[in-house]
Symmetry: C2
Subunit: 220 residues, 2 copies
DNA sequence: TAGATTGTTAATCGATTAACAATC
DNA sequence: TAGATTGTTAATCGATTAACAATC
């Protein structure tokens, strides 16, 4: 009845909670209070409690949170309790690097195939994953229950390929191309714009240098 | 006198403005109003005007914004008018993929060297960029005016290596390792946590599926 | 039970949007 | 000049933090 819409800001933080809880588990910590966690993560305890309460009462008064339980619950929210079949479009350096990344498999993201316009790459494999020509994409998606497509190709072809992918039934696009995709309702896009990321770093570096240039500038 | 602190949200948007303005330039557009740009970028015109005004009056009443001028100004803010020397720590797949990325060079980010703990990689090159052993890092940083270090190595060594880099004078870290870095004031960190990114995608996909499962669920 | 800590409401802060006077 | 569009102030919205009653 009451659809409590969860804000993007909260969702953005979920994977980070998951990471910290995983580390706590590894070091054998069984329970943790929002206060302790807040010190480790450098966020307020209030925010932690607010965030978690969006999804239900995961804690217990007077006790705190059970680390394993909370870890599993957040994992479930993030869809990490299920396998997701992934394809990578674009078999260049970045595409191959992602295909080679074992950590994704551990979290349930299984790379099933790589597609590239370059016919010379066809037939090769990366970590046992076949590189195939674009023509086989549709059949492959339909037959292998592919939910997520990773776009590691030039922006010039990204839009067109994304449209194809969606028409073949892909519901989620992990977009590394330097362009924004317009997708219909019900299709998810997560952008990784690396060039924008390094520009933000460059901005901060430049601002800092400007403010501190010519040695130590005395503050009046 | 009045230090107008610019919010992180604004800075996050700057590179995207830059991208759109670059595309407008390429297609020969000379001027644009906040209204037109807002339609293309799917943000409000009000936000565009507010954002840009943080940095000064880039527009002109009755006319709008000169595309080339605005592009250059934002580029300058982002520090793209200067060259930045970059090293990559970790010569694995991702490190090599970034080294191979020509778009960075175009923006003034010059990869000068790659460092890896694996001595077998030493002496090899990627796109003419030498891979060197970690022992040479300090000297290389000091002699080549390195400002930015890219961390593409396992989280287990990331913290330690970051500390080293900072002590050698690196002021900005582009962190791809799955961990948060604690750095002193004056050192910039930009995180690219790919596993968190794909988890957000997975979250949205999973939520959407839950809401629409068992075919079309009628809404009362 | 007493102490601890959550869940949750209320207060504050910041960011976005709307409105319009300034001005090209 | 009249029309267009910015720069900027005010209003709204949303997110974070503080506070505390509920409860384990």
């Amino acid at each position: 009845m009451e659809e409590k819409e969860i804000s993007k800001a909260v969702i953005r933080r979920l994977p980070r909670y998951y990471r910290y809880l995983g580390e706590l588990m590894e070091s054998g910590v069984e329970r943790i209070s929002s206060n302790e966690l807040s010190e480790r993560m450098r966020v307020t305890a209030s925010q932690i409690r607010q965030d978690l309460n969006n999804f239900g009462g995961f804690g217990q008064q007077g006790y705190g949170y059970n680390v394993k339980y909370l870890y599993d619950e957040i994992g479930r929210l993030l869809g990490l309790d299920k396998k997701h079949n992934v394809i990578i479009i674009g078999g260049g350096n970045l595409g191959q690097a992602l295909a080679n990344y074992p950590a994704f498999e551990k979290r349930g993201f299984i790379v099933k195939g790589i597609f590239d316009i370059n016919p010379k790459l066809s037939g090769r494999t990366v970590r046992g994953i076949p590189i195939m020509p674009m023509e086989q994409m549709e059949e492959f998606i339909r037959e292998n229950d592919i939910q997520i497509a990773t776009l590691t190709l030039p922006k010039t072809s990204a839009t067109e390929v994304a449209d194809q992918l969606i028409s073949y039934g892909v519901r989620a696009i992990w977009n590394f191309a330097h362009t924004d995709l317009n997708v219909p309702e019900g299709v998810m896009v997560e952008n990784v714009h690396l060039s924008e990321s390094i520009m933000r770093l460059s901005y901060n570096l430049t601002r800092y240098e400007e403010e501190h240039k010519s040695g130590k500038k005395e503050k009046k």
